[in-house]
Symmetry: C2
Subunit: 531 residues, 2 copies
Amino acid sequence: MTRRLKFWGWGYEDTVLSAQEIATLEGFYAKQFGIGSYQVDATPRAEEISLRAPRIAIPSALSQVCTTDHHERLLHSYGKSFFDTVRAFARDFSNPPDVIALPRNEQEVVDVVDWAHRANAVVIPFGGGSSVVAGTEPPKNDARSVVMLNLRHLDKVLEIDTASHSARIQGGTFGPSLENQLKPSGLTLRHFPQSFEFSALGGWIATRGGGHYCTLYTHIDEFVQSIRTVTPKGICESRRLPGSGAGPSPDRLMIGSEGILGVITEAWMRLRKRPTFRAATSVRFKDIYAAADAVRAIAQAHLYPANCRVLDAGEAWVNGAGDGSHAVLVLGFESADHPMESSMARALEICGDHGGSFDKAALGKEDAHRGGASGQWRDSFLRMPYNREALVPRGIIVETFESAITWDKFRNFHDSIMNATKRAIREVTGRDGIVTCRFTHIYPDGPAPYFSFHALGKKGQMLEQCWQIKIAASEALMKAGGTITHHHAVGRDHRRWYDQQRPELFAQALRAAKKALDPNGIFNPGVLIDP
Amino acid sequence: MTRRLKFWGWGYEDTVLSAQEIATLEGFYAKQFGIGSYQVDATPRAEEISLRAPRIAIPSALSQVCTTDHHERLLHSYGKSFFDTVRAFARDFSNPPDVIALPRNEQEVVDVVDWAHRANAVVIPFGGGSSVVAGTEPPKNDARSVVMLNLRHLDKVLEIDTASHSARIQGGTFGPSLENQLKPSGLTLRHFPQSFEFSALGGWIATRGGGHYCTLYTHIDEFVQSIRTVTPKGICESRRLPGSGAGPSPDRLMIGSEGILGVITEAWMRLRKRPTFRAATSVRFKDIYAAADAVRAIAQAHLYPANCRVLDAGEAWVNGAGDGSHAVLVLGFESADHPMESSMARALEICGDHGGSFDKAALGKEDAHRGGASGQWRDSFLRMPYNREALVPRGIIVETFESAITWDKFRNFHDSIMNATKRAIREVTGRDGIVTCRFTHIYPDGPAPYFSFHALGKKGQMLEQCWQIKIAASEALMKAGGTITHHHAVGRDHRRWYDQQRPELFAQALRAAKKALDPNGIFNPGVLIDP
């Protein structure tokens, strides 16, 4: 029997946190919030949830492609945010999709889109469903039926061009399968978002996902060579080129389009050889400001580290990469061609200039043995998405948000967001929470700070509580000049701030472009722009 | 008195090729084509050309901003291609712009656009006017009056953010002025197109200009942090950010828009420290294929050379960087932070693996002394645009075109273009010409080949002759899978091939976007898309 994905949490039903992991989490928050014991809500079961009857009938020609299966509809109702988990545990599935389409090839994708276009049904492209911004959630104020267009059967690497280090890959290919299919060629896409295991290429492109590299190749954008998209008006495919100056990039209109223009069925992607040379270590700084100065200098030296993540003292502490007394920089260089020691040496020299301290003896050993602060951080990073489904039933609010800001504004940006979030937690929950910050990516002109907050919620009110905190944080973020998202995307959750951020005239241009490709506005309506 | 720009050629009226340079050119082509003596057409003078009367009156409110000055109208009639020079020498100024607007600030830009919008006049944004693709030429089949919107008075670096290595710069700022204004900060944009001296920031962005760096930062695109554009519907300004994942990039719609969506008045640009560490040399290869293999390996090793230009044997010979028996790779690394010797050593090791030979003793000296093949090449490169105005009156056809292609297709692409161009020259002129190829930029997934051709034309027929050759070359290029332009832009000359290259649905989206920003279609109509 195939493993089933959880409709209330992360990954497969048979993969949950161990008793030991849960005990650690419970202990941590008990100490933090003075909790004596936990009342743990039961995990929802598919059988106990009844769904609205599908509002549209599957045409007989698509009977092999579409389903109204109960579990599939549950699975496609929500993404993977805190809000999604809370609603799942509340058994609130009041707005499920009507039909799940599971095409096995591009022609079937076209058939589904044609049917939806004729039937005036909403179509929402669905990759791994790992959105944390309600990017694949059925719209609330739209009376139309909703067809989820899940591309999981379009999961092949169709062609590998070893001369040009590139491959033609189907949009529904998940991270591990993609890398497995590339492996015999010695090439890798090396795009590792936190969601890697449960997200697909098409989704990475549609949401401008952020990946493995902290510099240069921060977003999936940079790896895209050409894109093939099915729209209600037909197929849009760009010419495969290493570079071009012929008009505005057609690909850049699709990259970040979040399913409003069509569904990405294929893309030619840029690859590279698997790295064989590595240098990795971690550096301690007195605080995030000192660490920020160091990574700014590293970025502006154009040293191009693969890894250059700053964890503030709280973030390091929460994730077992520090004792809470200092910030940590996780630093790594890698290459498939040449040794990285001289780059690392120069980066560490810069760190030293900014008060960083590190263990020379540990140099180069951390990555290999997966030990030290960087190994600790990575293990914790990959395990994080599983925490949510353990914390929600225990009444703990844990959520994250991320941004980017130029260096000149960083200190004010950081402080005002930290303060606004802490203040909101106190006001909303009546007690202090934890707010931490790390950098996921760095640029010569600024960092991409990522914030996490932890608060003691009140069962039955956690949705509103978390929203109030998120609103306060987002307002501060927008006011301080940041982007409402650096790589999580806009979805439905960030719409109100995205509307402030993007130029109004660009919204008008995008609306017109959408109208040209999707005249009835069936594709993911309400995301990015109004129909 | 201010120096006047030539309306028939490159640069200022008082800057022409020396007698020595002309003698060298004459000797070269005499030998090549068996020419005994040259009949030299006289340089056109403004006084001998009469222009159609302006078809629109300047409103009194704009009398200080707009002009119908004879020389200005001549200057704005053409760009700087071979076709433009031929027409100038033929005294063919049958389709001049009616009015030249020279706003002194953004409000005056808005005033001019508002006037043109109300008057239904065509507006063509004009930076340095260095287009070689008729990108700023008045449309032929459009009965409307034409206003050239020249931004040369918007030439200031308005703000420098040294913390974020970025600056806010006006769209009309020419290369040398831009770098001079940045100089006290120690920062540089380091974007050096061949047109550097006579082109402006807004034009670089609107045409996706290619610059100094052969890898990573090949186009101006990568340096753009945010853009401010005046459109008929108002001002469109993106938020200044080091990176973002919030919807499709608003900047990427403007980058490459070639003046069809509005006029770029300002942009925040990414800068860097001036380089202090350099390593430069040149390497000989038996032919372009061996050199291509080497630079492919260098690009795929992610060594990121600043300079990595391949000249085929003919290109090296024509430009005095070789004797015509071998291809030359001009290779350079630079940094403001750390020595580049180890990168150079590794690149040379790769060259050696692919049969490249180089003089170890010359290493690092070439750039400093501006000698050797690389110095020879650079001097020749910067002087090239002046050749056209000396060759056209002597009946010599010299034109260039450029593209990009993935490595898997390179050999067939190269050969079919070389053959098609040589064949067309023979058919059109009745004798052999010279066709050469170089790489201007390289990517891990492919090179950007740049072709030049030289043919003996027939006075009075050179326009048609050159077009026939260009058509043959462009058809071969499109058929072999390339882009019709890597960094020269589309303009009016490349439209027919651009129409084949870009997805039809993208054209529809772009047309709709234009309609939203420019409902009357006044901005550069006919470029990229039809009105």
